[in-house]
């Protein structure tokens, strides 16, 4: 840390103002380049909105993993209780996943986690659209804790106000690219479309984690494609038809 940076940091601590720490990098160079601070801003609310299956959870997972690697605490509020633990294990084994019994309790969880000051990143995933008063309150807490609050939503927005950044992901149509649009909070005043060179990596379901052995011995036999497809056509379920 340089002397000037040290002086700035001490001044911010003494003054009780949020630090000028850089943002939390997302791992997307194209996105980080257009964000002030080089990542998701700390002390603010960010929202990522996308339709089902567009990839926002994958992006959030990447952000959480990078944040953990930097030594910061991460809490993930799984309001709808639909996260699959298998792809998260490993790099995210230190993350706190909070699974409230009711999605409406998710903002309360975020309030509690931000208030503790123990986390640099709190992800509120799948909760209801935040009303403005609650969003303002959470923004205040995020500022006090110098933490980033990330809202993940399925609709057109995740909060009625108070967010500093809004990123929209568009699911790729067949044979097309996935797109991101930074609608708010970038270095530029207008929405910034970000084209991606290649699609999100997808994997077969049974290879959900590299440490879990793949037991599909049948798929590895030397049978030809034609043989396999014929076998598939003639295969009958061993259980009664519905």
């Amino acid at each position: 840390m340089s002397l000037a940076a040290l002086r700035l940091h001490i001044a911010s601590v003494v003054a009780g103002t949020p630090s000028q720490a850089p943002g939390l990098p997302t791992g997307l160079t194209s996105l980080d380049d257009v964000l002030a601070g080089g990542g998701i801003p700390r002390g603010r609310i960010s929202e990522w909105v996308a339709p089902t299956g567009a990839g926002k959870t994958t992006l959030a997972r990447r952000l959480a993993a990078l944040t953990l690697r930097a030594g910061h605490g991460v809490a993930w509020i799984d309001a709808r209780r639909t996260l699959d633990p298998a792809p998260l294990a490993g790099a995210l084994s230190m993350v706190w996943v909070v699974r409230p019994p009711d999605p409406s309790r998710a903002p309360w969880c975020a309030d509690l986690l931000l208030r503790s000051g123990a986390f640099a990143l709190v992800i509120l995933d799948g909760g209801p659209v935040l009303p403005r008063p609650i969003a303002v309150r959470l923004a205040q807490l995020a500022r006090d804790a110098d933490a980033a609050l990330l809202l993940l939503g399925d609709g057109t927005r995740a909060t009625d106000g108070g967010s500093a950044l809004r990123l929209r992901l568009t699911g790729p149509a067949m044979g097309q690219r996935r797109h991101l649009t930074l609608e708010k909070g970038g270095l530029h005043p207008h929405p910034v479309p970000l084209a991606l060179d290649h699609d999100l990596p997808t994997a077969h379901r049974l290879c959900a984690h590299p440490t879990v052995p793949d037991r599909r011995g049948v798929a590895r036999t030397g049978r030809s494609r034609a043989t396999r497809s014929r076998a598939r056509r003639v295969a009958q379920p061993r259980f009664p038809e519905p």
Binding site: T29, P51, L206, P237
Partner: protein, 510 residues
């Protein structure tokens, strides 16, 4: 100084009036302390009440009272401070104190100190004893010597080990079972135990045996510490009107904790346990006390208050509360770990612990979890949630993830990244628990063409499958399914399966 349990064979000084009466202190259903008179008539510690009554009649039984004991211990400690600044009541041994005797050369030496202490102690009991030694274990053993009954006993410096060699094992602090075992093996004195080999002792009796062996060799880490006469760390507050909700209580608790913690922090001490006592009205007025014990001593109000709030959240109030008492039940030295001004990533573990306690109090013990993998071929059983029990904050990792690091999810997308810059890895996935039924239109071969779920419709552009999975036949919930991975025309990937009961949506990539 020994505890107040008398030794009848050395009775020369006058006996306290209470010690001349057959009295026992009762804890639960057992005798926990006896007077000299009761001991002479065959009552001893650990007896049941009926056994004690059978041995001695009449016998006065009084309840064991921790509060009274603590109050009297504090009073006696304050009196001993007139003799030495190092006064420590021995843990779990009421009536026994360790008192520092170093540095009294200019004040008459250890002899004058011991005489003064004896005079002070005899205000409580006329047969109190004082012994001076290098180690606490030797000093305590010496107080049981008949020579210590009339005057302070000194063990010359450096002679603790020879003195202990002849001391009976009964005078060494250790577990009763271990003592009985050693006695059964013919070991009668501390010297006999000390003569054994350390490895043999550890192999046979573990860490506990090794601790006793060290004491027998005069290796005792216990020392008297600088004492400070404590004010009772208690704030009690009578509410203006009885309340049935916890909100008014929280105001009182927060203010009380703030005052108590601030006073302790100013002395460099921290809180190891807080006791909340509620006085409830109702048909039968009663006081209920519950404790909060953080994992490590805390000298900050906020995390302690969060822990107290979690306790109150989980405390069903079945009667109006008319008074609250906040007491610091245990005080400890403030931990050495401090916040790091120059490390922006430093976060307070106590705050995380308090948040964890509140979440667990609100939603149950399985509300805060972390992901773990399971060895299963079924997609919905390949991972699980494991409850977080203790707080462990992440440490920075200097090395950046390598391409071969299997635990690191890849960069999902990257502008201009060369092909294959990230290793292939799964996307994040959502799972419905339990799976939800869907309407599927399939072609003649059974391949899904269209999916309807929750009022939405997806046209399937590509369907991968079926993968026939079965298993868990040895469990109550066996499964046999044809799994399909359906990529819709608008890009979503749905994970479906078909079993004997129909089509189900298991989850989707996201």
């Amino acid at each position: 100084m020994p505890d107040v349990t008398p030794d009848a064979t050395t009775a020369r000084a006058p006996v306290a009036a209470w010690d001349a009466s057959p009295i026992v202190l009762v804890h639960g259903t057992r005798v926990r302390a006896v007077t000299a008179a009761a001991a002479r008539r065959g009552v001893h510690l650990g007896m049941t009440l009926s056994q004690a009554r059978a041995a001695c009649d009449p016998l006065t039984m009084l309840p064991w009272d921790d509060d009274t004991l603590a109050r009297e211990t504090a009073r006696a400690s304050a009196a001993f401070l007139a003799a030495s600044p190092q006064v420590t009541p021995a843990a779990d041994a009421p009536g026994l104190w360790w008192i520092g005797a170093h540095g009294f050369e200019g004040l008459g030496g250890e002899g004058a100190l011991a005489t003064l202490l004896l005079a002070l102690a005899r205000a409580w009991h006329p047969r109190a004893r004082v012994a001076v030694a290098d180690t606490a274990v030797a000093a305590r053993a010496a107080t049981w010597s008949t020579r210590a009954a009339t005057a302070p006993l000194h063990i010359a410096p450096g002679n603790d080990v020879p003195y202990l060699a002849a001391v009976p094992l009964a005078l060494l602090p250790m577990d009763d079972e271990l003592r009985a075992t050693l006695g059964a093996l013919g070991l009668r004195t501390a010297g006999a135990l000390a003569a054994l080999g350390a490895q043999d002792v550890e192999r046979r009796w573990g860490a506990e045996g090794l601790a006793a062996w060290r004491l027998a060799r005069g290796d005792d880490p216990r020392r008297a510490t600088l004492a400070r006469p404590d004010d009772p760390h208690v704030i009690a507050h009578d509410l203006p009107a009885p309340v049935l909700t916890t909100e008014p209580l929280l105001f009182v608790v927060r203010a009380a904790l703030d005052r108590l913690v601030r006073a302790l922090a100013a002395e460099g001490r921290a809180v190891a346990a807080v006791a909340l006592t509620l006085t409830c009205d109702g048909d039968r007025p009663r006081r209920v006390t519950r404790e909060v014990r953080p994992a490590a001593p805390i000298a900050r109000t906020a995390p302690l208050f969060e822990r107290c709030r979690a306790l109150l959240d989980a405390w069903p109030l079945d009667a109006p509360v008319r008074a609250v008492e906040v007491r610091i039940a245990r005080v400890a030295t403030a931990p050495a770990e401090q916040g790091d001004l120059l490390a922006p990533s430093w976060r307070d573990p106590a705050a995380a612990e308090a948040a964890l306690a509140r979440l667990r109090a609100a939603f149950g013990t399985t509300a805060v979890v972390r992901p773990v993998t399971r060895d299963s071929h079924a997609p919905d059983r390949a991972g699980a949630w494991e409850a977080i029990e203790t707080v462990a904050m992440p440490a920075p990792v200097d090395a950046w993830p390598t391409r071969t690091d299997p635990s690191m999810p890849p960069a999902p997308v990257s502008d201009g990244a060369p092909e294959g810059a990230s290793p292939p890895s799964p996307v994040a996935r959502r799972l419905l628990t339990p799976p939800e039924t869907i309407a599927v239109t399939a072609d003649a071969s059974g391949t899904p063409q269209e999916i309807r779920w929750r009022g939405d419709r997806w046209r399937v552009g590509r369907a991968e499958g079926p993968e026939r999975l079965s298993g868990a036949w040895w469990q109550p919930t066996p499964f046999a399914r044809d799994h399909w991975r359906c990529i819709s025309t608008d890009g979503g990937t749905l994970l479906c399966y078909r079993d004997a009961t129909g089509w189900w949506l298991q989850g989707w990539d996201d």
